[in-house]
Homo-oligomer: 255 residues x 2
DNA sequence: CGATAGGTTGACTTCAATCAAACGACGTGG
DNA sequence: CCACGTCGTTTGATTGAAGTCAACCTATCG
C-alpha cells in the first residue's frame, strides 16, 4: 500500500507554496509518505516502483514550484525518482528556444541514462518530492541483483519506445493532433479519480514546449476541441467528453 | 578513429534493383558464421560490437535495397544488428505520413527494446547484411553475463539520449538547422575515409521523413548551404567545406 | 535511345508563429 | 473591502516558414 522509506537524510528545501492551481498540496512533513486523500501517488504499487528497493540509499528532497533540480549540463552523479508532484525536463537552445523532454510523475525516474552530464535540466512543475540516488548505487545494484537489472532494462526500453513515439508526434503530427495526443497521454498517466476529468499540473507554456508549439497554438487547439464538444476546458481542468473523438483527433491508432 | 574498411561490403546478394516496397530479401544461410571471409565492416572493433559475443546464436541475413525486414506491428521475437549497409526504421500514420525513427549503420541494433510488437518497421536503405538474434537470447545473456548486461545498459541509455536529442531537433529547430544537424550527425557516424566527404546512403525522401520535413525543403536547405559555401552537394555525395559554419547553422552547441 | 525515378527549382498556399490586446484569477497593499 | 498589478490565458490580426503543386532536370537502366 505504501513505501517505507526509513531513515533518509532529509535535505529539506523550503516548502513554501504560493497557493495555486493543481492542488498538489504540501507533502506531509518528512517521514510522511505519499499522503492519503488525494494523489494516490502511484508508488503504492511496488511493481511499478523501480527504485523502491534502493530507498535505504536514497535521500528524499523537496522542491517548490519551478525550482531547478538539476541544471542543463550538470555533472551526472545522481538520478532522481519522483515521489509526488510533477517534474519537467527541459533543454534550452542558446537563443532561448525551449524543449520539454518529458513530464515525470510519481514513480518516474530522471537522469539514470546520463553519462558525463545531464543533457536536460530538471525542474519542478508543482511542489515536488524526490528520491535522490547515486548513479553508482544503481549500477551496483544492477550488477548484483538480477531481478533489478531486468526491471531496469524493461524501464529503459520503455523510455526508448516512448521517446521514439514522440518523434512521430513532433515530426509528423499537426498542432491539433499533438494536442489531442497529449491529452490522451495525460488521461492515461494521471490516474485521476474520475476517468473523465484530469487536472493538468503544467502551464500552457510547458505544454507548448513539450509539443513543439507556441502557447497561443495550444490555446487555440484546446478551444477548438471544446467547440467541437470533445472536451471541456477551464484553466487546468480538462473534462473528456468524447474520448473516441479525441483519439481520432490525435491519430493514435497504434499506441 | 579511422576505420579501414572496404566501403562496400561484399554481399552475395545481387545488386540493387529498385525496390518494390515490402519485398523480402533472401534470408541467409542459416547458422552461417557471422563473417565468412571478408566484410568485417565497422564491426572489427569488439568494444563497439554489442552483440558480437552472441554471433554463435545469430543468423546472418541479406536484404536488397528497400526490402522490408520487419513490418510495423510485427510480433517482437527477434532483434537485428546491422553488419553492413544502412537500415531505417519507419512508422506510418494511417494517411501515409511517414516518420523515420533512425538510420542504423554497422553495429547498430534494431528492436531490442520492443515488448509485444515492433512499433516501427525496419527497411533496408542499401543492400544490407544483418545478424538476427532472438530477444530471449539477449535477455538470457544479460542475466548470466554481468559485463554484457553493463554494455547493454550503456547502449540502451545511449539510445534514450539520442532519441531525446532528436526531440529538440524536431520540436524546436528550423528546417535549415535540422538539415545542418543531420549532416553533422552523418559526418560523425559514417566514418568516411576522408573527413570532409560523406556519401549519404539514403534518399532525400528518407532524410525528409527523418527530419520531419518535405523532400523539397530538404533540397532547398542543401542548396542554400551550398550557396553559402558551407558544403558541396551532388546527389548523394556531400563535401563539408566549412564544418564550423555547419555546426553554427545546426545550433549544436551542446552535442 | 526512351522510360523512369530521384532530385532541383519556382509559384503559390497554408498552418502555425508572431504581434497585439484584453480578460480573469489571484495576491498585495492601501 | 476594494483598487491595483501581475501572471497566465484567451482571442484576433497579420506574417512568415515550410508545405503543396507543378515543371523540369539528370542519372541510370532496360
Amino acid at each position: 500500500m505504501f513505501v517505507i522509506y526509513p531513515n533518509v537524510a532529509v535535505d529539506k528545501m523550503s516548502v513554501p507554496l504560493n497557493g495555486v492551481p493543481g492542488r498538489f498540496g504540501v507533502p506531509g512533513h518528512l517521514g510522511a509518505p505519499a499522503h492519503s486523500g488525494i494523489s494516490p501517488s502511484a508508488l503504492e504499487n511496488l511493481d511499478e516502483d523501480l527504485l523502491g528497493s534502493l530507498a535505504m540509499v536514497a535521500t528524499t528532497l523537496h522542491f517548490e514550484r519551478d525550482a531547478e533540480i538539476i541544471a542543463q549540463g550538470a555533472r551526472a552523479e545522481y538520478c532522481f525518482q519522483v515521489i509526488s508532484g510533477c517534474m519537467r525536463t527541459v533543454r534550452l537552445l542558446e537563443d532561448g528556444r525551449r524543449q520539454v523532454g518529458e513530464f515525470l510523475l510519481s514513480g518516474d525516474v530522471f537522469g539514470w541514462d546520463a553519462v558525463g552530464e545531464h543533457e536536460f535540466a530538471a525542474e519542478a512543475v508543482t511542489p515536488l518530492t524526490l528520491r535522490r540516488i547515486r548513479l553508482s548505487s544503481i549500477e551496483d545494484r544492477a550488477d548484483e541483483d538480477r531481478g533489478f537489472a531486468q526491471r531496469l532494462r524493461r524501464y529503459t526500453a520503455d523510455q526508448v519506445r516512448i521517446a521514439r513515439a514522440r518523434l512521430v508526434l513532433l515530426g509528423r503530427k499537426t498542432a491539433a493532433e499533438r494536442i489531442a495526443s497529449f491529452l490522451l497521454e495525460m488521461v492515461d498517466r494521471l490516474n485521476s479519480p474520475s476517468e473523465a476529468v484530469i487536472e493538468l499540473p503544467m502551464s500552457r507554456a510547458d505544454m507548448a514546449d513539450y509539443l513543439g508549439l507556441t502557447i497561443e497554438t495550444v490555446c487555440r487547439g484546446l478551444t477548438e476541441l471544446r467547440r467541437q464538444g470533445t472536451i471541456g476546458v477551464e484553466r487546468t481542468r480538462v473534462v473528456i467528453r468524447d474520448s473516441r473523438a479525441l483519439a481520432l483527433a490525435g491519430s493514435d491508432c497504434l499506441q
